[in-house]
């Protein structure tokens, strides 16, 4: 089912892309945790409160962001993280059949004593392992950031509230005291395992989709175009579903609805480490238990891969152009 020579070839072929994405994700996660430590929580809260009207567009309620864990958890929805994941998944998924057909290299590879399924599975092993390692590296970047970052916080000064008014009068004129501590004292790196798992599930879905479309096509540019079109279309559906109450049903039809790492991280904080891995419970407005959402993405990816194998086994392979 898996051909080690092919696996080696695909690994070598994708190494540069993987290394670039891995470096970007790992260093970004680390740096982002450090940036979180630079922002004063009070100031951050004041800024965010200005945007309360737009809270429904955020992946998670603003209140969850007023903690270090919540702010670090935002990493999983950062454009650079999504971009690196999407680039890896679409580029690798679209390469397997239409990419090799377009380059003309499939001809000689498939003339060897391997089945089409073996080729597809060997490619999938490298792509999925690459995706998993990217998600783990992002998590590792967060973990190292948490372990090495020191946070300095301003301690609240003693004050006196004047009765019947909202005025608070400080009881001392001394400069405010600050306190420094390691972020790991407030934030547990294990909390973000669920976010990394969600990111993997999200990527796996895209990888399967790209692979399926690649197995049907002979031009890689068309495969990439098709995947990106579906991606944008689903994103627009998700955005519209959030924007207008009457279009809320659109949100349920978008796979972005199943990517909810911040909510799962918030559940770890509020309900314990096992909360996001349950089939029941979770948020009040959710249809399913928290683990069901990433599982939908994983099952979707498996279905796409299965279709890709069936289509690839049955189709004629055109001669290179």
């Amino acid at each position: 089912m898996i051909h080690y020579v092919l696996v080696r070839k695909y690994a070598a072929q994708s190494l540069l892309l993987w290394a670039s994405c891995a470096f970007a994700l790992f260093s970004f996660a680390w740096v982002r945790v450090w940036v979180v430590s630079l922002l004063d929580m009070g100031q951050f809260r004041t800024i965010l409160e200005q945007f309360r009207d737009f809270e429904r567009f955020a992946p998670i309620g603003f209140d969850a962001l007023f903690t270090h864990t919540g702010r670090v958890g935002m990493t999983f929805d950062e454009p650079i993280v999504i971009l690196c994941t999407v680039v890896w998944c679409i580029s690798r998924g679209s390469d397997v059949v239409s990419g090799e057909l377009g380059r003309g290299t499939l001809e000689m590879v498939l003339a060897q004593a391997i089945s089409r399924t073996t080729l597809l599975v060997s490619h999938a092993v490298v792509s999925i392992a690459g995706l998993a390692s990217l998600a783990i590296l992002l998590w590792a970047g967060i973990a190292i950031g948490i372990s090495t970052t020191t946070v300095t916080e301003t301690l609240p000064t003693p004050s006196l509230r004047i009765p019947f008014t909202a005025i608070e009068v400080p009881l001392t004129m001394a400069p405010p005291e600050t306190e420094s501590f390691l972020m790991s004292e407030r934030v547990q790196w294990e909390t973000f395992a669920t976010g990394a798992f969600s990111l993997f599930a999200f990527g796996f879905f895209l990888l399967g989709l790209s692979t399926m479309l690649s197995s049907m096509d002979r031009y890689r540019w068309r495969t990439v175009g098709a995947v990106v079109s579906i991606y944008v279309f689903q994103l627009v559906m998700f955005g519209l579903g959030k924007a207008a109450e009457q279009l809320a049903w659109l949100r349920a039809m978008s796979f972005f609805n199943c990517y909810r790492p911040q909510k799962q991280i918030a559940q770890v904080v509020s309900e314990g480490a096992l909360a996001p891995w349950r089939f029941t419970g979770g948020e009040s407005d959710a249809w399913f238990g928290p683990i069901v959402y990433p599982l939908i993405l994983l099952v979707g990816g498996i279905v796409f891969y299965t279709i890709a194998v069936i289509v690839f086994r049955r189709r004629d392979l055109p001669a290179p152009l």
Partner: protein, 349 residues
């Protein structure tokens, strides 16, 4: 007993033998199936009623072809004749619309992996991974091939004077072709399929490649050699098949082709030309244009000499009927001409 023959019902259907699972197998059916079975056993490739249709276009149309094992078999035909489609069907890249093909007794539709274990294939436009160096490409294919041999591939590369340290992306078209040849010819697979192997090569390397094809034959391997260069086919092939519009126009051994001649002469316009009964199979075509007559022989010239002498021909010229002439007549002629050649070829065989 014969019902144990693989795909008995399908084979019988393809051979137009009316049998059903319950019908008795009479002597005629048995005889036909035995011929087919024996032929399949000795043939490296056997196509029966093979068709491949794309919409209204027939890339292959009812192709019946048998390629004997241990020979270098030439595939000839103009562009779009179906040569590459046929080759790609052998490898299981394309699925036939109807009919069947067996490669070393195996059906590439049913068991493509086992078929490809016995085949080493050089595509017409061999594209190799550009990110690999020459040595890496040879190692990759030697590891991938069921009967790959890196040492042999490296030896061939050296023989072809190829710089293996270069990345494929920086190689010229000819160098890439040489690299692909080294990767393919290094394998010990019993069937080599070479689709225009000498394209983009200089004359010296072409000679080396043809010599390697000859060596493969002497090792007992079968080679399917598709080319547009007729002189190469004449040099290395034992037999040749001409395809035209997806059909077999003519299949002939090169030995018998070399026996064929064209006689051009002048003759009295009123004199009739009648071929004696015993020589009819030896004369393929006679055409007259005023006092000019052209006689195409189908085999050895010697038995015809006394008849030709009796015709009182003048200014007689005898030309060897080379591959070029056959190719031109098939290429320029229509279906009818192709059929005529096929019949003539069958008669000679």
């Amino acid at each position: 007993m014969l019902r144990a023959f693989p795909h008995f019902e399908e084979t019988a259907f393809l051979l137009n033998i009316p049998v059903s699972p319950t019908s008795a197998i009479n002597d005629e059916v048995q005889a036909k199936l035995r011929v087919y079975r024996d032929d399949t056993a000795t043939a490296a490739v056997k196509a029966v009623g093979l068709s491949k249709r794309y919409g209204s276009f027939d890339a292959l149309a009812d192709l019946n072809l048998s390629i004997p094992a241990g020979e270098v078999f030439g595939l000839l035909g103009p562009n779009g004749a179906g040569k590459t489609t046929f080759i790609r069907t052998l490898l299981g890249f394309l699925f036939p619309t109807s009919g069947r093909v067996l490669v070393m007794g195996l059906d590439p539709v049913i068991d493509p992996v086992r078929v490809r274990k016995m085949v080493s294939y050089l595509p017409g436009d061999a594209r190799l991974p550009r990110e690999m160096r020459g040595t890496g490409v040879l190692r990759f294919f030697a590891d991938m091939q069921a009967q790959g041999d890196l040492k042999r591939s490296l030896h061939i590369a050296e023989r072809l004077d190829l710089d293996l340290k270069r990345f494929v992306g920086f190689m010229s078209t000819g160098m890439r072709q040489k690299l692909a040849i080294a990767a393919v010819m290094g394998s010990h697979a019993p069937l080599l399929i070479l689709d225009e192997p000498t394209a983009n090569l200089d004359p010296t390397v072409r000679g080396d490649v043809l010599a390697m094809v000859d060596e493969a034959r002497s090792e007992g391997r079968t080679v399917i050699f598709s080319s547009h260069v007729l002189s190469e086919i004449e040099d290395v092939c034992n037999s040749v098949a001409f395809l035209r519009r997806g059909r077999l126009a003519l299949q002939q051994t090169l030995d018998s082709l070399k026996q064929r001649h064209r006689i051009v002469a002048r003759i009295d316009a009123s004199q009739p030309i009648e071929v004696p009964h015993g020589l009819r199979l030896m004369v393929e075509a006679i055409s007259r244009d005023g006092d000019r007559v052209t006689i195409d022989t189908a085999s050895d010239l010697a038995p015809l000499l006394s008849w030709l002498q009796a015709l009182d021909l003048k200014q007689m010229r005898v030309e060897a009927f080379g591959l070029r002439a056959v190719y031109d007549s098939i290429h320029r002629g229509g279906e009818k001409d192709g059929d005529k050649h096929r019949q003539a070829g069958e008669a000679i065989e």
